[in-house]
Amino acid sequence: MQTLLQQIVNGLVVGSVYAVVALGYTMVYGILGLINFAHGEVLMVGALVALSAITFFQSVLPDLHPIAYFVMGLLVAMPVCMAVGYTIERTAYRRLRNAPRLAPLITAIGVSFLLQTLAMIIWGRNYHSFPQLIQTAPIEIVAGVFMTPVQMTTVGVSAAMMIGLVILVTRTNMGRAMRATAENHRVASLMGVDTNRIIALTFIIGSALAAVAGVMIASNYGVAHYSMGFLPGLKAFTAAVLGGIGNLAGAMVGGIVLGLVEAIGAGYIETWTGGWLNSSYQDIFAFLILGIVLIFRPTGLLGERVADRA
C-alpha cells in the first residue's frame, strides 16, 4: 500500500511537469495546427539561463535567502525564453503559415537542433549541477510515503499555471481573441483581431510556461544539460495528444495520466507479467496507452469529435 501510494506521488510529480510542458504544445497547436518541436528546447534554455543567473546573483549578492535566488533565476529565465519563443515564431514559422503542412515541422526540427547546438556552445557539453534552492529533505506525508518541498512546489506551481492559463483563455479579451484565431484565422482578422499579434503572444506565453517548467525540472532533479529538453518534450507532446491536442484541459489530464501510468507501470509490470517484462519497458507505457486510447477515441481523451468534412 505504501509502495502504491508512493508510486502515485511519483507519478503526480512527473505528470504535473508533463502537463505544464504539454500546455505549451497544445496552445501552439490549437492556434496554428503546428507541432512546435522546438518547445522542449525552450525549456532547456530556460533551465540553463536560470542556472547562469542564479550563479551570477549568488556571487554578486551573497547572503540572500535561497528562495530569492530561485525567484531571480526565474525572473531572468522567463523573459529570455519569451524572447526566444517570439524570435522563433517571427523568423521560422510566420512565413510558413500557408506553406505545405510539413514544411514548418522541418523548420521546427531545425530550430530545435539550432538551440541545442547554441546551448552546447554557450554552456558546454558537461552536465551542470543545478542549485537546489528549495528544500529537498523528504517529508513523510503518510507513513512511509515521502515527498520533498521541491516536489510539492513543482505540483503547486504547475497547478497555479494551469489555472492561470485557463482563466486567461476563457475570461479575458485576449483569450477570446486567441480562441477566435484558433477557430478561424481569416474570420478572426476580419473581426478586427490582430491575428499575428495573437499568435506571437501565444508563443510568448507558451515559452514562459516552458521556462518555468525547465527551472522546475532542473531544481527537482538538480541537473541541467543542453540535451535535457528532448525527453520531456517528447513525453509532453505525447501527453498533449493523449488528452486531445489543442485542448487545455486535455493537456493537463494527459500529462497527469501519463505520469501516473509510467510510475505505476514501471513499478508493477514485473509482478503483472510474472517476470516476463520488467521496468526496462518503462518508456513503452506512454505510447501503449496512447495507442489504446486513440484507437477508441481517435481525437484523444478530451478532444472534440470532429465530423469528417470535405
Binding site: L105, L288, G291, L294, I295
Partner: protein
C-alpha cells in the same frame, strides 16, 4: 530520372536526351569519382543509396498516401534484425541473401500492417504521434528482448553478421573482388552497385505504381479521404497497402544495412533517424520521386561535407579554430534546414499538384494520346 536530369543546369531542359545520358554515366561512375577523395566518400555514397531507398519507401506512405509516419525507422530495424537473425552466428543460421531479404521484407510488411490496422481512423498529427510511438516501441523491444529468452541480444547488438554473397558467381561482397594479383575492387564499390540496382528497381516500381490505379487512389485519399471514399475507393485496404509497401522498402534497406555494416544494435534505429528520413523527403520535395532522391542525396552529403570543410575554412578565415568542427557542422546543418524551408517550403524539386500519365512516364505515345 527525367526530372532529375532536367534539373541539371543548362543542359537539362535544352537537350533532355544528352542530360539523361550524362546522368546515367554520372551515376555509374560516381563511386570512382568519390574514390578520388578517399574511400570515406564511397562509403557515404553507399549509405546515401540506402537512405534513398528509405526515402522512396517513406515517400510512398507520406508523399503519395498522405499518412504522416514518424516511426518509419522501425521497418528498417525489422529488416536489419531479420538479416542478423538469419545470417549470423547469433542463432547459428547462415542463409543466403535471396532467402533473408524477402523474409525481412515480409516481416517489415507485416509490421506495417500491424501498425496500419489500429491507426486507420487516425488523422494527421494523431497518426504521427502513434507511429512515432510504434517506432520507439520496436526499438525498446529490440533493446530488451533478452529475457527470459535471448532473442535480440539487447543493447549489445548482434555482430559478425554475414555479408552478401552473389549466388552463381560466388562473389562475396565483403571480401571485395580480386581482379588481378595487385588490383582489388574494394567491397565498398561492390556494395555501391548492388545498392544501386535496388534503388533503380525501386524507382521503376514506384514510377509505375504512381500512375497505376493504386497510385491514383492514394493521391485521392491524400487529397480528400471522404471524397475518395465516396467515389468507391476502398480506403481501408489502400491505406494498409501503403503502410505495407512503404514498410517493405524499409525492410529491404534494413537487410542491406545489416549486411553492409556487419553489426546491428538498437542505437542505429532511434527516433532521430526517422526524423532524418522525413526531413530528407520534405527537403527534397515530398510526393515527387526525383525530389525525394535529391533530398536524400543532399542530406546524406551535406553533414559529411560540412564535417570535411569546417576546420580548414575557419583556419583560412580566422587563422584559428573558434568552433569545433562538429559543432559548426550541427550549426550549419540546422541553419540549412531552416533557411531551405523558408525559401522553398515545397522542397528542392516540388511535386506538381497534378501529374498526367505523360509527365510521369516521359512517354511520347501517351503524350500523343492526350493531344488527340
Amino acid at each position: 530520372m527525367n526530372n532529375i536530369s532536367q534539373a541539371i543546369p543548362f543542359l537539362g531542359s535544352r537537350n533532355p536526351k544528352a542530360a539523361l545520358i550524362t546522368l546515367v554515366v554520372l551515376v555509374l561512375t560516381a563511386p570512382l569519382f568519390a574514390g578520388l577523395f578517399g574511400n570515406t566518400w564511397v562509403r557515404i555514397l553507399d549509405f546515401a543509396l540506402l537512405y534513398i531507398l528509405l526515402a522512396i519507401g517513406l515517400n510512398l506512405v507520406v508523399g503519395f498516401a498522405g499518412l504522416l509516419d514518424l516511426g518509419y525507422i522501425a521497418f528498417y530495424a525489422v529488416g536489419a534484425y531479420t538479416w542478423a537473425f538469419l545470417a549470423s552466428p547469433h542463432f547459428g543460421l547462415h542463409l543466403p541473401f535471396y532467402v533473408v531479404l524477402p523474409v525481412g521484407a515480409a516481416f517489415a510488411a507485416l509490421a506495417g500492417i500491424a501498425l496500419g490496422f489500429p491507426t486507420l481512423r487516425l488523422r494527421g498529427d494523431y497518426l504521427a504521434i502513434v507511429t512515432l510511438g510504434f517506432g520507439e516501441i520496436i526499438r525498446i523491444f529490440m533493446n530488451n528482448l533478452t529475457h527470459p529468452v535471448n532473442i535480440t541480444n539487447g543493447p549489445q547488438g548482434i555482430d559478425q553478421i554475414d555479408g552478401m554473397t552473389i549466388p552463381l558467381v560466388g562473389l562475396e561482397l565483403n571480401r571485395g573482388l580480386q581482379v588481378t594479383d595487385d588490383f582489388k575492387i574494394s567491397s565498398l564499390f561492390l556494395y555501391y552497385y548492388v545498392f544501386l540496382a535496388f534503388v533503380v528497381l525501386a524507382v521503376i516500381l514506384v514510377k509505375r505504381l504512381q500512375v497505376s490505379r493504386i497510385g491514383r487512389a492514394w493521391a485521392a485519399i491524400r487529397d480528400d479521404e471522404l471524397a475518395a471514399k465516396a467515389i468507391g475507393i476502398n480506403t481501408r485496404n489502400l491505406k494498409l497497402l501503403a503502410f505495407a509497401m512503404g514498410a517493405t522498402f524499409g525492410g529491404v534497406a534494413g537487410g542491406l544495412f545489416g549486411a553492409f555494416q556487419g553489426f546491428v544494435s538498437p542505437e542505429s534505429f532511434t527516433l532521430m533517424e526517422s526524423i532524418a528520413i522525413l526531413t530528407m523527403i520534405v527537403f527534397g520535395g515530398m510526393g515527387n520521386l526525383a525530389g525525394v532522391i535529391v533530398g536524400a542525396l543532399a542530406l546524406s552529403f551535406l553533414p559529411e561535407v560540412l564535417r570535411h570543410i569546417a576546420l580548414p575554412i575557419q583556419q583560412a578565415l580566422f587563422g584559428k579554430v573558434y568552433l569545433d568542427p562538429e559543432v559548426l557542422r550541427m550549426l550549419l546543418l540546422s541553419l540549412a534546414m531552416i533557411l531551405m524551408m523558408l525559401m522553398k517550403p515545397a522542397g528542392l524539386i516540388p511535386a506538381q499538384s497534378r501529374y498526367s500519365r505523360a509527365d510521369l512516364l516521359g512517354d511520347k505515345e501517351a503524350r500523343h494520346d492526350q493531344a488527340a
